[in-house]
């Protein structure tokens, strides 16, 4: 009986909610569209000078429920000292992507949010205020391409991350290494030094047994190995034998060479099949592991896994292209402003956004690449000084799916299948095949896929 009552109550509540949501939706559609005409672009605003007399109260949505009441509140307080008439209020949402997808459709969600990744580029203008032209904003901010549609920027990334190699600073110093390696061969020499001069468990820990850390090596074959932002999405599809050895030791071959040789020279853990991801984070922190090849998201996890977070460092992948170093980088969640909100709120949100990404300490606190191109790198990425950070260009129009098609058809499985990377390690471990044989096979498969899909191949 009780259960029934609760159920019927719940049902009633759900119905009431959906009706409310429906009302909100129609309101938003009628009221919102006209109100963004006098909103400036973000580059026109001078923080601290403009709009001092604007009175508004804005709500900012975030997924960071862990710091919404501490760090983020501090930013809001600092800003409100500067702009006493604007009130900034944060709301943390646990199930961010899902809830925001629902809330976006009803225009009344707040004023500033992280744009959910599920919003397609062509839908951006339905929900978000234009922040400026791509040509104007791109020289100022990093990762502008990610939320640009038709030459207009609708979101600015809250900083970004770069991909490199995790290492333990203390271990490397103890081994007598003073300069970080810049080529695969130097990297292998460093690992050898670590093996000879220290008593770590493994100079390089592969995490083979978990599978996906092997697939993580694929992330470096693009920008880090070629310095070419078009390589991953455009060129590799049309290249004949992309995995072939280059004389200057760049390109995908150089990345896999690093892995193959590290295994062949026994610079990795004793038994890769027995490796364990969870405990490896602690070993990285304690200095029982010299290096791990993983994305920058792993840095924070390794720092938190032990008592010596300062020993965990992150360096660019050791490949030099024509004397220059490159690292792939991508943006975090992008900020977007609600185009259905009142005009004053939109302006206030934009002022706060500009202050947050340009003047606050947010990127030092989060250890990510700042949104401003002129900003300094955080301490966590200090080793990336002088390394050019690039993000992959989007594929050409009409070829959006081509990379996936060639990738799947060939079964080379870059960034989606860990097994081919595992095979490189196996070949090195058992000594059954040379790297040239493995790469030759990949090239063959790649060519066969290009042929069967009728892809134009540049010789």
């Amino acid at each position: 009986m009780k259960v029934k009552k609760v159920l019927s109550l719940g049902l009633a509540a759900v119905m009431a909610m959906s009706m409310l949501a429906a009302c909100g939706n129609s309101d938003g559609e009628t009221g919102g569209v006209t109100s963004s005409e006098n909103v400036p672009t973000i580059d026109e605003i001078k923080v601290g000078e403009d709009y001092q007399d604007l009175t508004a109260s804005i709500k900012v949505l975030t997924n960071r429920t862990d710091i919404v009441d501490t760090v983020y509140k501090r930013y809001a307080d600092e800003f409100m000292k500067l702009y006493p008439n604007i009130t900034v209020e944060y709301e943390g949402i646990t199930d961010y992507e899902e809830s925001l997808n629902l809330r976006l459709t009803n225009g009344d969600w707040g004023d500033l949010c992280f744009i959910p990744t599920s919003v397609n580029k062509n839908e951006l203008s339905m929900y978000f205020t234009p922040l400026g032209d791509y040509d104007t904003l791109d020289p100022i901010y990093n990762f502008c391409t990610e939320k640009t549609y038709d030459g207009t920027v609708y979101g600015i990334c809250n900083g970004g991350t770069a991909s490199g190699v995790l290492y333990n600073k203390k271990v490397w110093a103890d081994a007598g290494i003073t300069e970080l390696p810049a080529t695969p061969e130097e990297f292998l020499d460093c690992l050898q030094k670590i093996k000879d001069n220290t008593d770590v468990e493994a100079p390089l820990y592969t995490n083979f047994s978990a599978g996906w850390p092997m697939g993580a090596w694929d992330a470096y074959i693009g920008i880090a190995a070629t310095g070419n932002p078009d390589f991953m999405n455009n060129e590799i599809i049309h290249t004949k034998d992309p995995f072939a050895k280059q004389d200057d030791m760049t390109g995908p071959y150089a990345v896999y060479y690093t892995m193959y040789e590290a295994v062949a020279r026994k610079l990795v853990e004793e038994s890769p099949a027995s490796s364990d991801w969870e405990s490896s984070k602690n070993k990285m922190n304690k200095g029982e592991i010299g290096a791990m090849v993983l994305g920058s998201w792993a840095v924070q996890q390794c720092k938190e896994a032990g008592d010596t977070p300062d020993d965990v460092g992150y360096m660019p992948f050791p490949i030099t292209v024509d004397g220059k170093r490159y690292a792939g980088a991508g943006g975090n969640y992008a900020f977007g402003i609600n185009n259905q909100a009142a005009e004053d709120n939109q302006i206030a949100a934009m002022v706060y956004l500009k202050w947050l990404i340009e003047e606050s300490s947010i990127y030092d606190d989060e250890g990510s690449i700042p949104a401003l191109k002129s900003g300094d790198l955080p301490d966590a990425l200090a080793d990336f000084e002088g390394v050019e950070l690039l993000s992959d260009n989007p594929p050409l129009e009409g070829e959006e799916d081509l990379f996936n098609e060639v990738n799947n058809e060939s079964e080379v499985g870059i960034n989606n299948n860990d097994y081919p990377d595992c095979e490189i390690l196996e070949a090195a471990l058992y000594g059954t095949r040379t790297l040239d044989e493995v790469m030759g096979e990949w090239n063959e498969k790649w060519s066969a896929a290009q042929e069967s899909l009728g892809v134009e191949v540049n010789k």
Binding site: S209, A273, N408, Y419
Partner: protein, 334 residues
Amino acid sequence: MSNQISAAAKSEKTFAETFRSRKVQRLLVIFTFMLVPMALLIIFTYVPFGKMVQFSFYQMKYSGPRKFVGLKNYIDVFQRSECFKSLFVSVYYMGGALVQLALALFFATLMVFKVRGSAVFKGAMFFPYLICGIAVGFIFKFFYARGFVLDSLLQMAGMDIEKIPYWLENQSINNISLVATSVWRYTGQNMILFLGAMMSVDAELYEAASLDGANKWHQFRYIILPSIKSIVVLNMILSISGSLSAFEPPYVITNGTMGTGTYFVIMNRLAHENQKVGLACAMAIVLLGIIILCTVAQKLFFKYAFDDGTSDESKAAVRRRRKAERAVVKGGAR
């Protein structure tokens, strides 16, 4: 005229009557009761299977357009070296299945004679079967890891770590390590099946046999084994087809690396990581064919060896008896 009328009335009457008749009613009841299970069977088994057969003729991903390619997928299955190499891995699992059946028979026989605490043993032996396969995989991942459970135990027993092989890495034993996990898991279940069959043997037979001076081995050989022959054959067929489709141990413990990829692991990789759904469906159909072949071959073998596994005498024994009978008849005639 009157004849015609009566005929029409008769036929009309027969329709109502036939409907109410016992025979039709019975058919109706059968049909209605069958409706639900048949619908479930068709919707959840035959329609998906039909779809799979259909997919195997297409080049397709889960989403996006499909292209009819005829038998190309099947030709590919037979041309790809890894598909059939992976069947070779199944030979390990078949070997494991035999060991598992022997162990299960052994333990079941022990239990059937009065053993103290047999309920506890039964429970302990059956327990692994209750753990889900993925969990078993994780247990053994740590069990076999270098320097973990198994290595520590062996070291405690005085073995030198240098002499202990790498259980998951050494290609001459890693498949055996994996097979051992599935033996560990299924022995208890097989044992319970055997035990169930053995319970139905009349206990007086043992008594009579022991009065005649038969020891436990004789009792097993001449009383128990012939009585549970059909269960043994069933278990054998299930284990062999099970070993052809082994999936969980290699998938969880080694992810099919280092030469432990079974047919299912390869199939899963093609379907999900490379999105070649059509090819994977063709592989599934080919495997189905192989399993049918194996089952038929086993059936024929047991039919020849044990007379379809249900009669008490084997074909050879029957032939011997017939021969002896004929000799007696001949002798009598003379």
